[in-house]
């Protein structure tokens, strides 16, 4: 919960509701339509992989950095993976600097689950020396401009940054690891997409923009790969009728397939 809400006045609220009754939205989209997605990759040279995502006017920047790390005790053969989300104060007047707020933690953890559970990265391939040294994959997403639906934007950014990440080649001699100048692309095994559905009154819309998000009763985010549901999170201060969940899932799967195509087209081959 943000510290203070951006208040949408009731005239606008009624207007949005009336439009939805006719199956229309503020910016002319249909209920299930996403805003335009624009992807720029490799925007940060210092990072191993990066992507700047425009979802309508919402902008997020993701950078991937590979560092050496020590594997977890219970998984000596696996590299580690961290996803963070920074709600930078530049993105919105209700984001504050300082220690992470609950909404920021939620964004981080939902994106983390999507990346981790989708198996997009084979963590075993990040192992350098078993039990001693592994690659640690740090994926950090920065919100630049919040015009709604940071959840889905963050997921697209993270996946696109990973898809363009290159991993430095190493030479290992007698347990000594030296980093070579060359690098090879990181292998991507799946293509997870996040689809957030917002409930406004009795209407369910995909990819809510800022004002829609402010007046939404509830939010339902699903992470979907080609054949699996990998993450999910309900938010918002109202419930969702139990019968609607399967409808939202069916709908989200369709939307996810469309978005996946759009993203893949824009990624460099």
């Amino acid at each position: 919960m943000a510290d203070f809400e951006l208040i949408v006045n009731s005239i606008e609220k009624n207007h949005i509701n009336k439009l939805l009754d006719d199956g229309r939205r503020l910016d002319g989209r249909t209920l299930n339509q996403f805003r335009n997605i624009k992807i720029e990759t490799n925007v940060i040279d210092k990072a191993n992989g990066s992507a700047l995502i425009h979802l309508g006017k919402t902008k997020v920047l993701c950078g991937v950095k590979l560092t050496f790390g020590v594997p977890w005790e219970d998984a000596p053969k696996k590299g580690s993976l961290f996803v963070g989300f920074e709600t930078t104060p530049m993105a919105s007047p209700d984001f504050r600097s300082g220690p992470p707020q609950p909404n920021q933690i939620e964004l981080s953890r939902v994106t983390d689950r999507l990346i981790r559970e989708s198996g997009i990265i084979d963590l075993e391939k990040l192992c350098i020396i078993e039990g001693e040294k592994v690659w640690q994959l740090n994926i950090d997403v920065y919100a630049l401009d919040n015009f709604g639906n940071l959840f889905d934007a963050a997921a697209i950014a993270a996946v696109c940054a990973l898809a363009t990440t290159s991993i430095p080649e190493l030479s290992i001699k007698k347990g000594e690891v030296t980093q070579l100048e060359t690098s090879k692309p990181l292998e991507i095994n799946s293509f997870p997409v996040s689809v957030t559905t917002s409930k406004i009154g009795e209407h369910y819309i995909a990819d809510a923009e800022l004002k829609e998000e402010q007046i939404a009763d509830a939010r339902f985010t699903l992470g979907l790969t080609d054949d699996h549901i990998v993450s999910g999170q309900k938010g918002g201060e109202n419930g969702i009728k139990s019968g609607k969940i399967m409808e939202i899932l069916d709908n989200s799967i369709q939307i996810a397939d469309e978005i996946r195509k759009i993203i893949k087209e824009q990624l460099p081959k």
Binding site: D3, P102, I105, H228, V230, S231, Q233, G235, G239, K241
Partner: protein, 360 residues
């Protein structure tokens, strides 16, 4: 084939763990509950509605339900650091939102209902165990709600959709889906998912969870009723007596309370004894539940409970600004509990396996 699948702890796919709820286990808070869900042990307490601090978090048209979910340092294998983890903060957030959806928050603008829930022992599905404790505690505190909330964490273990995963199944399994659901209003108030679910697995897990939750909510409802049935037995009154003499008896109780609280008690002395008294009370409660015996001790304690209940009820009716008065009365209340001090029981802290053996 898959229907006969037996899980590591001997349960079937759709079988839930043993589930116990007790309400009114703590005395200082306005409402409290303890939940045992298999090896999970969660305790919740409710304070409020009261003034929101810090003020900037308050809302002009409604109260906020602020859930603080924490895990005790000794609740896990190894030692959990005392600082709240990101996981705990996320769960606090989603639980707050879930209960915000059922509590009638518009009754108290600018206020907060503070809910503290602590996991003292964890074994998979702690956030649902926490939610069950919170529901019972909120109801115990008399906070008006649209419905009770029940919850189950289902998931996938060895490619089978299983209900109410244990810690082991959660760790080794390939999917976890905690759901909170209110059967009467038919609303999902919390949904989280991680892992690899196929469409069919999702559907199976989701639908069987809802069926399971309906049963759980009934258990909570029974636990809430049980408390008041016991109080009624204590006084040996029928429904009609209660309704007609209601206000009179409350008045009397109120006076008694005030008189007895005239004894001077220093701040330090009442804190500790009241906690051990709680421990004793908890144990007696569970014993009487199992064995259907009523001994003297629990009787006296129940009386105390009744007193407090009617006291707080009265307060709510009479008082428009309950905050200041309540503070005073709280200390009085605690001081009256001093005679109940009883240190003999610390079996509350024994491991659940041992406890089960004892009970069986």
């Amino acid at each position: 084939m898959s229907k006969d699948y037996v899980r590591p702890d001997g349960r079937l796919k759709n079988q839930l763990r043993e589930f116990k709820v007790e309400v009114g286990v703590l005395d200082r808070s306005e409402g409290s509950a303890k939940v045992n869900l298999g090896n999970n042990m969660a305790m919740a307490s409710v304070f409020g509605p009261r003034e929101m601090h810090p003020k900037r978090l308050s809302r002009s048209d409604r109260a906020i339900v602020r859930v603080n979910y924490r895990m005790a340092t000794f609740s896990v294998d190894g030692y959990k650091r005392a600082v709240p983890s990101r996981r705990e903060k996320e769960i606090s957030k989603v639980l707050s939102e879930a209960f915000q959806s059922v509590v009638l928050v518009k009754n108290w603008p600018r206020s907060v209902v503070d809910v503290h829930v602590e996991i003292f022992q964890s074994d998979g599905g702690t956030r649902t165990a926490a939610a069950l404790a919170i529901t019972a505690a909120l109801a115990d505190a008399g906070i008006p709600m649209r419905d009770l909330i029940g919850g189950i964490a289902s998931g996938i273990y060895e490619d089978q959709v299983c209900l109410d995963l244990t810690g082991l199944e959660d760790m080794k399994g390939s999917g976890d889906m905690p759901i909170l659901y209110s059967p009467a209003v038919d609303e999902i108030s919390l949904f989280q998912l991680d892992g690899l679910f196929t469409y069919d697995q999702f559907k199976e897990a989701y639908e069987s969870s809802l069926t399971g939750i309906k049963g759980m909510v009934e258990v909570i409802r029974e636990a809430l009723k049980e408390k008041y049935v016991k109080i009624r037995e204590e006084f040996g009154v029928d429904d009609e007596d209660v309704s007609s003499d209601d206000d009179m008896s409350k008045e009397e109780v109120q006076l008694d309370e005030d008189e007895s609280s005239d004894d001077d008690m220093s701040e330090e002395t009442f804190e500790k004894p009241s906690f051990s008294a709680v421990i004793a009370q908890v144990d007696e409660k569970s014993e009487t539940k199992k064995e259907k015996k009523v001994d003297e001790k629990s009787e006296t304690k129940k009386e105390k409970k009744v007193d407090e209940k009617s006291e707080t009820k009265k307060e709510k009716k009479v008082d428009e600004k309950p905050k200041k008065k309540k503070k005073k009365k709280k200390s009085k209340k605690s001081s009256t509990e001093l005679p109940d001090v009883d240190d003999e029981d610390d079996s509350w802290f024994t491991k659940p396996e041992e406890k089960e053996k004892e009970e069986n």
